[in-house]
């Protein structure tokens, strides 16, 4: 026998039963009654804003007046950020990297290099951040995002020998477990970018690039750990594992610096933090400011030397290098400033319109009676 009771908004309790005798329905009515608690009888204290002209109109005006200066501040800050972007995929025949992009395959042993010259019109002060950007690269594909083993990356010995099933088909290679396993690690970005400043007298000065301090602190010190303990020998710790299929060097040879080698290599960590959108940029290097008097990157001609390892032509992706300064609101993104200005002005206009409507129509029913 099925009897259901429900309570609608007026508080009447209705019971509908099927196949039950009348007497039983009466009994079930008594037993199925919801308890007389505040929660079940919907007597919880509630608050509903009463919208009067005295509250809504000033609120709209205040919101408008607050948002517009915030928006202007954001927009001005964003405009003051200097950014330079250069696409080095080599799609055009005239591009310096065209040859590299045509000849490249995952199996080529000899690296291909190309040089691109560009010019900076403005000097860049303070720390300058160098990013590599990829387009049409879907790091947010679900199967791709899941293809990793976080406990292996955390230094767990057992996961090192037996990677999780999510890593398949990048979990084993020639009967050895892959470290680090998964599609994300396998597709790691491996171009090398170097920056040179062409002095007016013709000499080339290499600009020093800092490779540490580019990953999140929590990633580097909490999430990613090397197996074999803090100061263990990495080569020994990774013995018996294979490198990912598309890598040229194994994971314990990523950097000479022992603090940046193995799973805690910051380029690797930055890559493993999958991007949300198909066009993204990831921090590559930091150009530290030298002193407060000289700009970090003076105006002039520069050369970008690329060791072109990463093939993107097959999925019509693009690669670019971005140089950018930073402010309190992050990189150059005028959207938030424009959005705030727009919303602020719309709010203000809406307030004015509502004020007019309130004056014309709002007082019409004042003093009127409630009869109907």
């Amino acid at each position: 026998m099925m009897a259901s009771s429900y309570k609608d908004e007026d508080g009447h309790i209705s019971v509908s039963g099927s196949g039950a005798p009348a007497g039983a329905v009466g009994d079930s009515l008594r037993s199925k009654k919801p308890e007389n608690t505040a929660f079940k009888q919907q007597r919880l204290p509630a608050w509903q804003p009463i919208l009067t002209a005295g509250t809504v109109l000033p609120a709209f005006f205040i919101i408008g007046l607050i948002f517009i200066p915030i928006g202007i501040g954001l927009y001005v800050t964003s405009n003051n950020i200097k950014e330079f972007e250069i696409d080095y995929t080599g799609v055009d025949v005239s591009s310096p990297c065209f040859d590299c992009s045509q000849k490249l395959s995952w199996n080529s042993t000899r690296p291909c290099t190309c040089s691109i010259t560009f010019q900076l019109d403005q000097p860049y002060e303070s720390n300058v951040f160098m990013y590599y950007g990829l387009s049409n690269f879907y790091q947010n594909h679900r199967r791709y995002v899941k293809s990793r083993d976080d406990s292996q990356l955390n230094g767990n010995e057992e996961s090192l020998r037996k990677p999780s099933k999510e890593c398949e088909p990048y979990g084993k290679h020639s009967n050895k477990p892959i470290a680090p396993c998964g599609a994300i690690a396998n597709s790691m970005f491996n171009d090398t970018l170097e920056l040179f400043y062409n002095e007016p007298n013709g000499t080339r000065v290499q600009i020093p690039l800092t490779a540490t301090g580019i990953a999140w602190w929590t990633d580097k010190h909490v999430k990613f750990r090397n197996p074999g303990g803090e100061n263990g020998n990495l080569t020994a710790a990774f013995q018996g594992t294979a490198k990912p299929v598309n890598w040229r060097r194994p994971v314990y040879e990523l950097d000479a610096d022992p603090d940046n080698n193995g799973f805690i290599n910051e380029d690797f960590i930055v890559w493993m933090r999958t991007a949300a959108l198909p066009t993204f940029r990831k921090l590559y290097r930091i150009i530290q400011r030298r002193n407060n008097l000289l700009p970090t990157l003076p105006r002039g001609n520069y050369t970008l030397e690329v060791v072109y390892n990463y093939p993107v032509r097959s999925f019509e992706g693009r690669k670019r290098m971005i140089l950018s300064t930073i402010s309190w609101m992050g990189g150059k993104n005028p959207f938030l400033g424009i959005a705030y200005i727009t919303v602020g002005s719309v709010c203000f206009l809406l307030g004015v319109v509502l004020l007019i409507i309130h004056h014309k129509y709002g007082n019409r029913t004042n003093g009127a009676d409630i009869s109907h």
Partner: protein
Amino acid sequence: AFVRSVMISCYTSLVLFFIPWAAMHDTVRDDGKDIADYQSFALLTQTCLLIVVSAQVRSRRHHRLWNGNMAQIQFSGRVPPLIICTARNSLNQPNVWLTMFLTCLLCVIPLVAFRFLLIQLRPTITDKVRRNLQINRKEDFLSPAPRRPPARRISTRRSSYAFSHSKGYGDLVTSRKFLRLKRRPSLFTRKNSALVENQPQLYRTITEEAEETQNVDALRD
């Protein structure tokens, strides 16, 4: 009403996705490190969603929407272990807070404006009563002597059953506020009417019938 809900949901969904998307597009933190990664983006969107839904629930007093709220909290718990890391890294960015603030406001303001417009142009009985209560309260401060609003006497002839269908009137009527005539003139000024004594009404006064029809006509347009 269904179409209205659908439209509100569509608009809210679009705002909730595209504003964080545009704010995170090609953006980085204030120390240069990434912020446009999958988990931060999801965190931002989820937080906006929670705040907006809470605001909408409160503004419309729909108790049943608590279920929807619980579902959303469960969904956002799907990346539980490392959400603390992500939250710690992205929630100290003023960019993120500003985006959240903008999204929530952008979802709430149209609703507030629309309701305000409705109150001004097509006030329901509830709104009119509230407005008159407010006017009464204000005028009570100005003139403490009890007034005789002849037009409002019509209301004493209305049965409280009609009012009890709007939310809040059950409490209002049974709280016996009408009988406290010393403090302020209430809606129902007649002391000897059947309504005030909570008796069913059994008669109609003939003299006020002309006023009643006139007011009914006025209200019909």
